[in-house]
Symmetry: C2
Subunit: 368 residues, 2 copies
């Protein structure tokens, strides 16, 4: 099949071509499985052996800073994508010399830094929580003066599942709080008294077409996603707002691929209103229900988008709920396997450490 270096920047990828994936975790694994179903080969690049290796035609075990290995990888594949937003800018740059990278470097740069992301969202007039840049204790003092207590101090980079953040309450010593997040560039966010969390998982294709899955209601425990449910309880007009915001974000980034947009639901004067919390330039845990509950899974949709294929239909079959299996919960597989209609997705990870995402199950009730 066609080799990357010979491709025009946006050539449609034919079955048989090889898709490179940065990251070998469960998202890479599920991308690899759906890519295979569409006839693609997958080459995974990851610094550690991960569950995606077991279902891929090839893998490279090397650091993201290993420029020689990156160049070799990128010259052996027809296109590169990734399963996580913290791909270093330099890594993206080296890849892009050899083959297309989707989503592109701009999507990465915007979303891997909380300050860039918030500045970008604000520039689109997307409603977000108040925020202020914090590079020092003095900055933090000024920010708390402006945004009040409670508020939340978060690192600009590398935060996930509640890591790299601390709450500022009445009794918090600000110098200590800045130390808690590593005394590194950070953002203070105004406290948002949200009722619930929802997300939009959507895709934008290479020629700008956009398709979103239904708004998903998410429940977290200890900052880790527990369940995602469709349909959400949002009024139709608010759902329209949610999809519209996702579309404006994807369009403004000239985004290619699946994007996850996390939102808070606030109740003000008896009406529900949304604030965008965070963007994920990749397939998203809250979209796993689509594997069994939607006409196209988010993983296939991402592959379609980056390959230049038409986006798949995003209709929902009925009611769906995804439940993450965290840590030891994966040991319940026998009971889950015996429960009629439960669709099991296990990641093939070795040790079920507490809070570790080991798998998930989808329960779908087809509407009749």
């Amino acid at each position: 099949m066609s080799k990357a270096s010979g491709l025009p920047a946006h050539a449609v990828l034919s079955p048989g071509a090889t898709i490179g994936i940065l990251g070998g975790g469960q998202l890479g694994r599920m991308l690899a499985l759906d890519a295979a179903r569409l006839g693609f080969k997958v080459h995974v690049f990851c610094p550690d052996t991960g569950p995606a290796f077991d279902v891929s035609a090839a893998h490279t075990l090397a650091a993201y800073e290993d420029e020689e290995s990156l160049a070799a990888f990128a010259s052996q594949v027809d296109l590169v994508t990734y399963e996580f937003e913290n791909v270093p800018a330099r890594t993206a740059e080296i890849i892009a010399r050899h083959c297309p990278l989707f989503p592109d470097a701009r999507a990465l740069a915007t979303t891997q830094d909380r300050l860039s992301e918030k500045t970008f969202l604000a520039s689109l007039n997307i409603p977000i929580a108040g925020f202020a840049e914090v590079n020092s204790v003095a900055d933090l003092e000024a920010a708390v003066e402006k945004l009040g207590r409670p508020s939340v101090l978060k690192t600009r980079r590398f935060g996930y599942d509640g890591k790299g953040q601390t709450k500022i309450v009445d009794t918090t010593d600000l110098a200590a709080a800045f130390g808690v997040v590593g005394a590194q560039p950070a953002v203070l966010e105004a406290f948002v008294p949200f009722e619930r969390e929802v997300s939009v998982v959507a895709a934008r294709g290479r020629s700008g077409e956009f398709a979103a899955f239904d708004v998903t209601e998410n429940r977290h425990e200890n900052h880790i996603l527990r369940t995602s449910t469709v349909p959400s309880a949002l009024p139709a007009s608010v759902q329209v707002d949610a999809l519209d915001m996702a579309k404006r974000i994807a369009d403004a980034l000239e985004y290619v691929g699946v994007i996850g947009v996390e939102m808070f639901v606030l109740r003000e004067d008896g009406r529900e209103r949304l604030l965008v919390n965070e963007l994920a330039p990749r397939v998203h845990n809250s979209g796993h229900w689509t594997q069994d509950g939607a006409e196209t899974s988010q993983f296939e949709q991402h592959i379609r988008a980056i390959a230049g294929w038409p986006l798949g239909a995003t209709g929902c079959f009925g009611e769906a709920q995804m439940t993450n299996l965290l840590g030891d919960e994966v040991n319940d597989w026998q009971a889950l396997a015996a429960e009629p209609g439960v669709r099991i997705h296990l990641y093939g990870k070795g040790t079920p450490r507490p809070g570790r995402k080991m798998g998930h199950v989808n329960r779908v009730t087809v509407k009749s």
Copy 2:
């Protein structure tokens, strides 16, 4: 995870265990994909590089007669299954020394030889076409005397997709016909004036539980499956007959795994009646619609059965049609990708030779 040699014969396989698959074609590939979804690792053994290699954790490229490689393979996996019925008896024997083989050697011996299969079916009073053993031209003359013309001469072994068979018509020279099938052990089958072909794809678990998918209506072209459709047009009572026959067959073999039972539909005195044509001790092309049209795919069902898991639910979501993509038809992927609701499954094979199964699509209409 637990090693094969330490397993009691029928230990339930836990996620993380390794399933060995003999055969690296599309059936092995789709088994590997669903095994991965359930958290298993897959090791493929095949004499040729095949599409299953690209989605498996490990593979062995060696002949089925390579006893050293077979022993090494079988000692590295927790269980072995296969994607084709022509596994040599000696191969099965070597495997079974190291780990469980499902379906077992008896299922293989019975189904890889047309005469054994027909004798077995006749012993269960399952309706089949008249048949006679043919080991010589003299046998063939006697058989034609008994079964008449037209009739069909088929090799006892290694026939598929219409290969290894020839029709005996009024003008056929019998010595020449015996030569056409290689002058090897064969079976003459009475001509069956069937209207249509259907199949039952069913599973039997290790503890004897049985679950069948809906009867599937199959259309062939040039002896190769073209489409499979559910629901079939059979009257309910005849569908019950079909499922009952499949259950009796699976029970009599103490079968473990998915089995395909191909049947002819005859119309006699205005009523429909079934004859069993052929058994396949494996997942079956006519069951591919279950990937998108049933609560559990036949591939997951096979893995569940051999792993000792409870069988999955077999309900059908509505109307489903599977269409094979043969040879060049795979080049229509762009149009298919643009057709809403079409689920694409491509096998990652290199060259689209005429008649070669390159992929399939499922079209499912959810009932409402």
